[in-house]
């Protein structure tokens, strides 16, 4: 048959398998850049390095209270990045990340009150709490995604879960509500657990809000951010985005879409759990209101305003909104919440991709034009 445009060849369409020569480490490092994350090339990475350097030097030029405050902001970024993965990349709007935040926060309290902080146990408690957050999310995700729940109903189910947990924890005031030595304490919440503690010859280092905790959290944020970039640019991240765009097509390419959705949700739950456990360690308290309606809504605002479909925009947006929220809270917390609501409306109506993501896109275009 006449075939002027695509002449037939006997070459197979699928390339014959050749052995990959690059090491696994090289492959993973190459995934720091890719189709699912904004920012590539020397200019981007030089800017990122400068930002991290400025963050490292910041405590030298600031008072300990401000540094402790900055540590507080960083505590929340893990939950925001996790929500970015679940909502922005996988397309499932979870309104209940605070359920996993609260569960892990309480778990850290129960574990450290019972077993203390000696021999670095606070870090083990942190890891167990994160794992609990992830496993609980996996369980909820299993019933949701294998039960064919999607769209707005994911938001309703997850919001219900966090509100049920809040209600349950708020009625645990009686003395019978204890796990070992740890009293759950109802509406007033738990307190008295130790902060993160680094075992050190000559005396443990206690990471109270201040410079030490700031640096530990900075390192964790950087590692988590880079790790998520690599994961999202890996085949796993590509499949998540494919499911967000067209789940039926993704399944018809041979992917078990429900398993991917459940794993993404578990990752988001583990990251929310990391925020929860760190929050408890930071302030040495946790209350049921951390799982309430207001607490559940705020991560949505951070992620939407920054840009849910890019992890860098999510991270920067969360830090910016938290900073702005605290500045406004000086004038009254209800007032600050109204401004947050207005900011969300403004974003949804004018820059649905998110303020930071839109700004980054414009900046990228400008740099591109300047290069040409």
């Amino acid at each position: 048959m006449d075939r002027p445009d695509t002449p037939h060849t006997d070459e197979p369409l699928v390339a014959e398998t050749q052995i990959e020569r690059r090491s696994a480490l090289a492959i993973w490092i190459s995934r720091l850049e890719g189709p699912q994350t904004m920012g590539r090339g020397p200019v981007f990475w030089a800017t990122a390095a400068l930002v991290v350097l400025a963050a490292i030097l910041y405590p030298l030029f600031s008072d300990p209270f401000a540094v402790g405050n900055s540590a507080y902001f960083m505590v929340w970024t893990f939950m925001a990045m996790g929500l970015g993965v679940v909502w922005g990349y996988t397309g499932a709007l979870s309104f209940g990340q605070t359920a996993f935040f609260g569960l892990a926060g309480y778990a850290y309290g129960v574990l450290t009150i019972n077993f203390g902080a000696a021999y670095g146990f606070t870090w083990i408690a942190l890891m167990i709490s994160v794992a609990l957050g992830g496993l609980f999310a996996m369980l909820i995700g299993y019933f949701m995604f294998y039960g064919r729940i999607k769209g707005v109903f994911v938001g309703i189910v997850t919001l219900s879960v966090t509100l049920v947990l809040e209600t349950f924890m708020a009625q645990t005031a009686g003395p019978q509500w204890r796990i070992g030595e740890a009293r759950l304490n109802g509406f007033n919440g738990m307190s008295g657990m130790p902060p993160l503690t680094i075992p050190w010859p000559g005396g443990d280092v206690l990471l109270y809000p201040g410079v030490g905790l700031y640096y530990v959290l900075l390192a964790m944020v950087v590692l988590c951010y880079l790790g998520l970039r690599m994961l999202l640019n890996a085949p796993f991240g590509n499949v998540l985005v494919a499911i967000r765009e067209n789940p039926e097509r993704a399944e018809m390419l041979g992917y078990d879409t429900r398993a991917y959705q459940m794993l993404s949700f578990a990752l988001g739950g583990a990251l929310a759990g990391l925020s929860g456990a760190l929050y408890t360690a930071w302030g040495q308290y946790i209350t049921p209101s951390s799982m309430g309606l207001t607490a559940a809504a705020l991560p949505i605002v951070w992620v939407a305003v920054g840009g849910r479909r890019d992890i860098t925009a999510t991270l920067l947006g969360t830090l910016a909104v938290l900073f702005a929220f605290q500045l406004l809270t000086v004038y009254g917390s209800q007032y600050a919440l109204i401004v947050m609501g207005a900011l969300l409306l403004f974003t949804v109506l004018l820059t649905p991709e998110g303020l930071i993501a839109t700004a980054m896109r414009w900046l990228g275009r400008l740099v591109g034009r300047a290069k040409r």
Binding site: M1, D2, R3, D5, T6, H8, E11, P12, L13, V14, A15, E16, T17, Q18, E20, R22, I27, P35, P235, N238, V239, V241, A242, E245, N246, E248, R249, A250, E251, M252, L253, G254, Y255, D256, T257
Partner: protein, 239 residues
């Protein structure tokens, strides 16, 4: 000739409406087989039953001799069935390259992945649009992209639901040539199609569905001459 797909006594009802009525159907390896029939005949439902999107009320589906009746969709795809939907099932926000990456990364990595993407891009005439978001392609190009995504997973059976819907005559002709090429590469093709000129261009065998049951089967010439098919589908006999 080897049977690649064998469907027996397949039944499906939605409420009181029978959409698959005791369907017995055999597809031989290496053929290009078209399913035709009036709107509502059950063609797309039959596809969805083969793909596992709908569970049959009774009956069995054998693919390459193995019973796949109870397998989930992605498990059937992994066994060698691939599909192109009527409405282009592409990832519109992703570029052509990213669409193909997602389609092939299941079994290809690194150099093997990139060289396969390059070959499929050439095969589907999309070299100039490789970094273009798929949603910005013309309708015909979107259809070709989806065919590319479907064949890169090395299927033995390719299901096409109205592959030329909305295409220009030139795009339709090119699509026909593309399918012949794929068939020569060893892929068995089963297509639902309304355009009889296109059916004549590609089909070696034709099956007519009517009210969820098989009404007629044969070569294209036999089907065109079939008086019953003329009455129900082809607009009546001139005689």
């Amino acid at each position: 000739m080897t049977e690649i797909l064998s469907v027996s006594k397949l039944n499906k009802k939605f409420g009181g409406v029978t959409v698959a009525n005791d369907i017995d159907f055999t597809l031989h390896a290496g053929t290009m087989h078209c399913l035709i029939g009036p709107n509502g005949a059950g063609k797309s439902t039959f596809f969805r039953l083969i793909l596992g999107e709908h569970a049959p009320d009774s009956g069995t589906i054998l693919f390459r001799g193995a019973d796949i009746t109870r397998l989930r969709s992605f498990e059937r795809i992994r066994r060698g069935i691939s599909v192109k939907f009527q409405v282009p099932g592409i990832f519109k926000a992703l570029s052509v390259r990213q669409n193909l990456d997602v389609a092939f990364q299941h079994h290809l990595h690194g150099h093997n992945l990139s060289s396969t993407v390059k070959r499929v891009v050439e095969f589907t005439n999309l070299e100039a649009e490789v970094e273009t978001p798929a949603g910005a392609l013309s309708h015909g190009q979107q259809q070709w992209l989806e065919i590319g995504m479907a064949v890169g997973v090395e299927p033995t059976l390719l299901l096409l639901d109205e592959p030329t819907a909305g295409m220009s005559p030139d795009e339709t002709r090119k699509t026909g040539e593309m399918l012949h090429d794929l068939n020569q590469r060893g892929i068995t093709i089963l297509a639902v199609e309304h355009d009889m000129a296109f059916v004549e261009q590609i089909a070696t065998q034709v099956t007519v569905l009517h009210f969820g049951r098989i009404f007629a089967e044969g070569t294209i010439a036999e089907i065109i001459d079939h008086p019953g098919v003329q009455d129900i589908y082809l607009g009546g006999s001139d005689e």
